[in-house]
């Protein structure tokens, strides 16, 4: 029972965080807003080639055992979700032979390289390295009209 106040406290904090998030304009940024840097994507490329390319292909076109990481099928899978969801998936399950063996920085760099090959624009700040923060960035296949 000693833990009850702690639990209540946590619940209150969680609730207030939720309220804070709810007050923000929902998903204020998307992958079209320059959420990674060119430098970061370049850093991610050798990591990708070393850790991921054997299954997903040097050009992310996929193989018999792994899906493509570019193109319609890939984008459809993540459209409407967040970069946090995609980052979590990479963190939890990749590389397949040793999940979680890459640092958060390496995973973020690989994600930046994936975004660059998927032709999402680079910007001035690097990707966050925490999935909770990346959840603020929406993955949208379609370029928003207002950004044209």
């Amino acid at each position: 029972m000693k833990r009850l106040p702690l639990l209540l406290g946590s619940a209150l904090i969680a609730a207030s965080l939720f309220a804070l998030r709810a007050q923000e304009p929902a998903g204020s940024r998307s992958v079209w807003d320059g959420v990674y840097t060119e430098e970061q994507a370049k850093r991610g490329e050798p990591v990708y080639q070393k850790e991921c390319a054997a299954c997903h292909g040097a050009m992310m076109t996929g193989g018999e055992s792994a899906p493509p990481l570019t193109g319609g099928g890939f984008q459809a899978n993540w459209n409407g979700l967040t970069l946090g969801d995609l980052f979590d998936r990479i963190r939890k399950t990749m590389p397949q032979s040793k999940p979680g063996s890459l640092t958060r920085q390496q995973d973020a760099d690989v994600l930046a390289f994936m975004l660059s090959l998927n032709k999402f624009p680079a910007g001035k700040t690097e990707l966050y390295r925490q999935s909770e923060m990346l959840k603020e960035i929406r993955f949208e296949t379609k370029k928003p009209a207002a950004k044209d």
């Binding site: 080639q49 193989g63 319609g72 099928g73 409407g80 032979s97 063996s101 640092t103």
Partner: protein, 697 residues
Amino acid sequence: MLPRKASGGSLRFVCFVILSLIPAVVFAQYHPKDTEWASYAADLAGTRYRPLDQINASNFSNLEIAWRIKTDNFGDRAEYKLEGTPLMVNGVLYATAGSRRAVIAVDPESGELLWIHGEHEGKRGGAAPRQLSGRGLAYWSEGVDERIFYVTPGFRLICLDAKTGVRVPSFGENGIVDLKLDDDQTISDWNNNREWAPNLETGEIGIQSAPAVAGDTVIVGAAFREGMTPKSMRNNKGYARGFDVRTGKRLWIFHTIPKKGEFGYNTWEKGSAEYTGNTGVWSQVTVDEKLGLAYLPVESPTSDFYGGHRPGNNLFGETLVCVDLKTGERKWHFQLVHHPLWDMDISSAPILADITVDGKPVKAVAQPTKQGFLYMFDRVTGKPIWPMPERPVEVGNVPGEWYSPTQPIPTKPPAYSRNGVSIDDLIDFTPALREKAKQDVAKYHLGPVFTPPTVSKREGPLGTLTMGTASGGTNWPGGSYDPETHIAYIYACNSCIEPIGLVESPKEVSDLRYISGVAGREVQILRGPGENAGADSPKPPKKRAGGSYSRLEEDDLPIVKPPYGTITAINLDKGEFVWQIAHGETPDVVRNSELLKGMNIPRTGQTTYNIGTLVTKTLVIAGEGQVTTTADHPRGAMLRAYDKATGKEVGAVFMPAPQSGSPMTYMVHGKQYIVVAVSGGPYSGEYIAYTLPSAGE
């Protein structure tokens, strides 16, 4: 409940011995009913057909979820690529599931878990080339002895008591046959000194498909890592083997790469049969029990796209091989692709079809392929049903490569999916889009089926642009077949475009002269998984990207024109199409495209290759491989039913994620069920069972 050791084995052993002594007349082997799904593809003929009709055109859209099993906890991490097709036999549903490739037994009406079995394989499992839950398992029974067979990621054949999930102690060693042993080769790996040395832990070989159990024989093939950029021209070989279903004793082995003195050895010039590996049977094996013949679909040799180190036709690479079920002796073979260079593994179950050609009955075998040809043979003699002449094909100019000047081309049926790339295949929604696409593909070498790979050059070509190669066409889910009407139903990706370019390999990357790659993108040194990857490891060096590769899409639209994915109905008596439809909702990116606003675009299907079909008395059923969000349904995918006579869609039901394993059906206590594996993207694996509402709609 995750038994690592068999318990109570002695009693079971005694029972087994006693039962074995009772004449087989009393306990005949089990013959599955029409209401059951007793092997991976419904039956050993590879049909994916059940003559059930409770779920039909009038009610398909009323289906609701009977039960569902999330597979997250069947392993030490969730799995997002659940590819299994369960079995349902003798009132129990069995499936492989989760990242440990656990076996689960489930009540087929309620989904209640009856037992679970998993093997903890440590480093051997972690190093396996084909991990995760695999595609399924096999069932065998004789009297009260019911067994489940599956192969672990670490390449062990496991025999379980189907009633308890405990290993059968009398099979192999305590229910296990170590498939890395007794393989007519010493399974090896490169050690730290770059020496090829025996290594049972990391030696590359495994399999993800279900074993085939026929009569008293369990047949197991072999699979390897993706073969695009192998470390070496040397690898373990993927022989196929038959084992005694009762004892696990090896009955036979078929050398998919012949040993010296064996037939076909001379198709490997310069002694290349000695070191070349792969060439496994990684897909489903089909068996004609009456004829006592097994049909082995063989994959590519090392490496997928460069064959300069294996001059010659390379039997039995990409060859359909018919062997005696009991002895493994080769009866006939037909090499679909000489000197393979396109990763055209024979990737799915051969389909057995008793057809009538020009008024005469023929026992045929029909082989769907990545290259969109349905190769058809007399399955007794191996003779093509229709002419399959050797036709000249382009000979390339990759240094050191050996080329076959001809390839066999089926004259019937016509190719059911694109297997080359021409300007006419490119996007043509508008003239401007076609023009842009033409400019983009100008950097590549184009051509029909069997156009060889090129060396990738910055100034062009970057490579050969292909379709119907590594992905297919038809990949591992294969086709389906209605034995009553003699019509096959085959899904194919019709837009899985793949550039194949070769780059010289630095010696520290691979001892192959060329590996898959793109000019301008530096080939990376392959290190062990996780090596140099810890928190304090040095950061990767900063390098300039080549930047010559760009995604093959035009304004996010697929670079080829629809249909992107199809189901084709083919009359096997005549070798002619009955119908062909686009399967799958038009992708969001096409449907919502500003560029295409106001245009009336018929359903396009989807660019995905891992879709399996199911055939019932009246329907062809298949789910979608991509997520869409439409006015009719939230983010998700649809399981669709088509009138099998016409291809007209007659119903659809919502799935929360794409179909990732092929659907199956069965009937229990008067109710028909359809079970399908879904997963992908952020959605972890789940088996979902659909049935009709008891009270009606």
